[in-house]
Symmetry: C2
Subunit: 233 residues, 2 copies
Amino acid sequence: MTNQKSVSFQDIREEVIDRIQTRIWPQGSLLPTELELAAEFGCARATVNRALRELAEQGIVTRKRKGGTRVVTTPVKHAKLPIAVVRQTIEDMNAGYRYALVSRTLIDCPAWLQAKLGIPEGAQVLHLQCMHHADNRPFQFEERWINVNAVPHVMDEGFLTVGPNEWLLAEVPFSNAEIAFSAVPATGHLQEFLSVPTGTPLFQLERTTWFRNDPVTFVRMTFHQGYQMRTTY
Amino acid sequence: MTNQKSVSFQDIREEVIDRIQTRIWPQGSLLPTELELAAEFGCARATVNRALRELAEQGIVTRKRKGGTRVVTTPVKHAKLPIAVVRQTIEDMNAGYRYALVSRTLIDCPAWLQAKLGIPEGAQVLHLQCMHHADNRPFQFEERWINVNAVPHVMDEGFLTVGPNEWLLAEVPFSNAEIAFSAVPATGHLQEFLSVPTGTPLFQLERTTWFRNDPVTFVRMTFHQGYQMRTTY
DNA sequence: GAGTGGTCTAGACCACTAG
DNA sequence: TAGTGGTCTAGACCACTCC
């Protein structure tokens, strides 16, 4: 007896994926309406709705009122990259974490940063440089600028024992951000702090963060040689 | 009159985010139950459920049966990277796309690839090298290995005019994949095809793809100097 | 064992949009 | 303007897990 009380939205989601993969519903084709599918599967429309809604979020189908549900023609998949605090990333590798402050200076906001953050001229920013080690080997060099107006009591924090990343996460949680990944050559500070020859290719993550529409910080995180960021989709 | 017939799940989601950001519900704290929130907002429990479920998917709260809903202490945000076909990426930049096949060879699967794909010894793979240009400037060098057993009639395709990326997307749509991003130095083919000096840091994306649990392809895509992958979260 | 979230149902009204 | 998805409601039962 394989009877089940009711059809779950996950059953429907998988069945729909299967029909798409087996070309029962080819790319670009129109699916039956929610009502028709509900009748076919013997469940409520809400159940079908949830299944199809999730597939739409994944970018597998597109949905339009009156237009119906369609299998997308050129799938654009979304890789989900979990971005955690460096300490956690390192501890998840079962490595020992060590943090060190390199420099901490209050400066006038440079023009390039003003443009990036959209803050008024003459504003002051706190400029920080830090190192994050895994098992006493250089893991990440962090260079950060914090908008002092957005987080005034950042001036009371010395960042000697706790990194700005974690401090801000506790202070300004659940903010919005823009991220850019790139490959850069090791120069100046980087080659020095990450212990690599000049020009070594390094993986870099730049991030601008806002909290409730106020620009808070811009950070450039450069990883040790050979670092890979991985995910599934 | 700002009256509204009913409270939407989006209203609730935003109100909850607001209360978290303003520390009404600090990190680590327990939220009221769905029933309590439904009573407070004057809506059905299902509405509260959807709002909180989405926040849980975003990693802002964690939920456990009997344990209730809790604000997470160390947020792990998920950056969503849209991964499209190269042609589309280039066309979205309003640049002209050009594709060129560099080489196409049937080979015995090398040991490292056997391990990566988990395919039997002695299997054959199609090895391809291609270039993708944007406005006649090198944009991406693609090196790919295709499991011939998984897609037999790949042998009928010359890949002279259509890239393997697009061909596979049409042939084997909605597959699963593992991705790794890294920074690599330009060497051998790379410096040649991307027109950069030896050792230039380049952004690279490696991806292994399965279709219905069968390994299909492994691809290494190396981008032109200075390429950035961007997203919001 | 009891409390909480997870899900399904049946019905309703609304909002968008293709024809 | 008619058809489709988008959402809300009120109620129900279930599954997990903390105490």
